[in-house]
């Protein structure tokens, strides 16, 4: 029985492989392998990706669009295994948010041999077909410059919460923030500490900082995940701190209207998930996006703060979304990247 089933499966597999050798124009299978799935940004990201798959599949009847996402839960070995298994499944497009890009170089070649389009997410890879990047240094610089412009020229002490040591995206964001802060003399970085993208670690770091630096003015973070505990601790302890975020999480954007959050970078997981599917669809239709595709990520401020920042010398050419507009596109990824955007 088992032998028969195995034999039948093998036969079916061989037939499938033979058929799969020819590109199937009527199907588009997309896999997104991510390093995690529990951070608020990840949840929004994966949900945007799932919604976009469904919307594109409904909108284009000539093509069956399928997709799935996998989470490595922070483990390099798990991500390698998931990638190997996925390559063997031969989807059309793979988005891989690699924990470390060097570790995935051998697998890029294998994927390309199998006819799969490999899109490196966030950390660019020379060998990948495309890299989907965030312009982290430029975004970080904008956050740092916003801090300078909104600090009003007074002495201003800020602590910066970093990503995981060695993570390219986190390092680039830090580089940008420091570059932006260096554009003025009054902002002093009193502490820097990696929180490993972990909300719980961020909580204890924020608590320590608020005790250690009683005259702290602001906390800057390379992800909005750090903002949730930091804002809560400051509020509960009666501290009047300002916050500069990075991600465009909706709950954090909502705290920009008369709240303690002064600036944020509008990535928005939902938008990014939708952009993935739009990009895969365009590639499938024969378009060739830039090899390094920069996701559009404007700075977000309230209108009042933007005017104040401009008055204090903030560059006019930095594209800023006001909070309402940012909330709108963050919640509705289809506005920018839905099926209508490619029709």
């Amino acid at each position: 029985m088992t032998f028969k089933r195995t034999f039948a499966s093998t036969l079916a597999l061989a037939t499938g492989l033979a058929g799969g050798a020819l590109a199937d124009e009527g199907k588009l299978d997309i896999v997104f392998i991510n390093d995690g799935h529990v951070a608020p940004y990840h949840v929004a990201w994966l949900s945007g990706f799932e919604d976009a798959i469904e919307a594109y599949d409904d909108a284009f009847e000539d093509i069956e669009i399928t997709g799935r996402w996998l989470s490595a839960e922070g483990s390099l070995e798990k991500m390698i295994q998931q990638t190997e298994v996925t390559i063997n499944e031969k989807p059309d497009v793979m988005f891989v948010n690699a924990i470390n890009v060097d570790a995935f170089e051998p697998l890029v070649a294998k994927a390309q041999e199998a006819g799969i389009t490999w899109i490196a997410v966030h950390s660019p890879m020379e060998s990948a077909d495309y890299s989907f990047t965030l312009g982290d240094v430029a975004n970080g610089t904008n956050q740092g410059m916003a801090m300078c412009a909104l600090s009003g020229g007074e002495a201003y002490k800020v602590a910066v919460m970093l990503g995981q040591a060695g993570n390219p995206s986190g390092e680039a964001r830090r580089e940008g923030i420091m570059k932006g802060i260096a554009s003025c003399d009054n902002v002093e970085v009193v502490a820097e500490q990696p929180a490993d993208w972990d909300t719980v670690k961020a909580q204890s770091i924020a608590e320590n900082w608020m005790t250690q630096y009683p005259d702290l003015d602001a906390i800057s973070g390379v992800t909005d995940a750090y903002m949730y505990p930091s804002i809560a601790i400051a509020t509960n302890s009666g501290k009047d701190l300002e916050f500069f975020g990075y991600d465009g999480d909706i709950p954090i954007l909502q705290q920009m209207q008369d709240g303690p959050v002064k600036a944020d970078i509008l990535l928005s997981g939902t938008r990014e998930g939708w952009n993935f599917v739009q990009m895969a669809y365009r590639i499938h239709k024969g378009e060739t996006p830039d090899k390094v595709y920069d996701f559009f990520t404007p700075l977000v401020m309230s209108e009042e703060n933007h005017k104040l920042a401009l008055a204090n010398g903030f560059p006019e050419d930095v594209q800023v979304y006001y909070v309402d507009q940012a909330l709108d596109v963050a919640a509705k990824g289809y506005l920018e990247f839905g099926p209508d955007s490619v029709k």
Binding site: S71, I80, Q81
Partner: protein
Amino acid sequence: MTTATATTPSRPGFKLDSLTQRYLFLILLIVIASVGFGIANENFYSLANIGILLRSIAVPFLLSMGMTFIMLTGGIDLSVGSNVAFSGGVGVVALTATGSAPIGFAAAVAAGMAIGAINGVFIGRLRLSAFMVTLATYALARGMALVIYNADSINVSDAAFLWLGGVSWGNMPVVIPFVALVFVALSVLLYKSTFGRDVYAAGSNINTAFVLGRRPERTLVWVYVLSGALAGLSAIITVGRVSSGQPWAGLYLEFDAITAVILGGTSLFGGRGRLLGTILGVLLYGIIINGLVLTGTNPYLQSLIKGMILLGVVLLDTLVQRRNAQ
């Protein structure tokens, strides 16, 4: 006066011990999982996928072997995952500095053994809690790995160094026969040597082992050193698999190893268990992970399924043991 006691002669019957029952149950689960995943996705039985599956369990298998020795003594080693990163870093740096793959191999294994020796001395000689000591070396080894690598990866192109983890004969990764050899060697060590008997003795009752002159404190040191050596070997395989040294390699592997050993029937309290059970535990765990990916199971559900399987097996084991005790 004599008293005649009438006893009903017990019928000699075929009765399996609890560990054998556990192994049969694990084999049943492996068959069910394989058939189920094979039906859900025919690619499950492809040679390429079997190769991927075997390669993916090679490192957990080695770490679980070491963990079995440790858990047989009633201990635990939370540092093995971090040790994979640390010993890999030492091996890669030694390789880069000398250009010699054998020196790189030796450095990786020696570094792994060094962490194991620290664990062993603190636990065996100073009688500190295994949980606390290895929790400390878990952080220590990861920290040293980050320092060695400067938190960034190091590319490795030396073909000899990459051979074990990176090369396949067709769909068969070369690491599989290597792991099989390690298993045979460890089986001989555990079942056919005085050291193996000392391991069981230390786990069954450390005070009795001490009184009997089996020097359990020395045995404890050596089981942690052995676990460290296997972490070093795992590091070499990991570097070969990804063609680079990675400071975040091995993250959470200690939990996979502990899970596999518990699935395999080794007692958390020591003195009971076999390497065969660990093999089955690793294989079942690997098949489940592989199958869940292949079937596109939602990752939110994956953790739930893995937890339920572990809980179910442990619960069943407890019930079987209680029934046998009655």
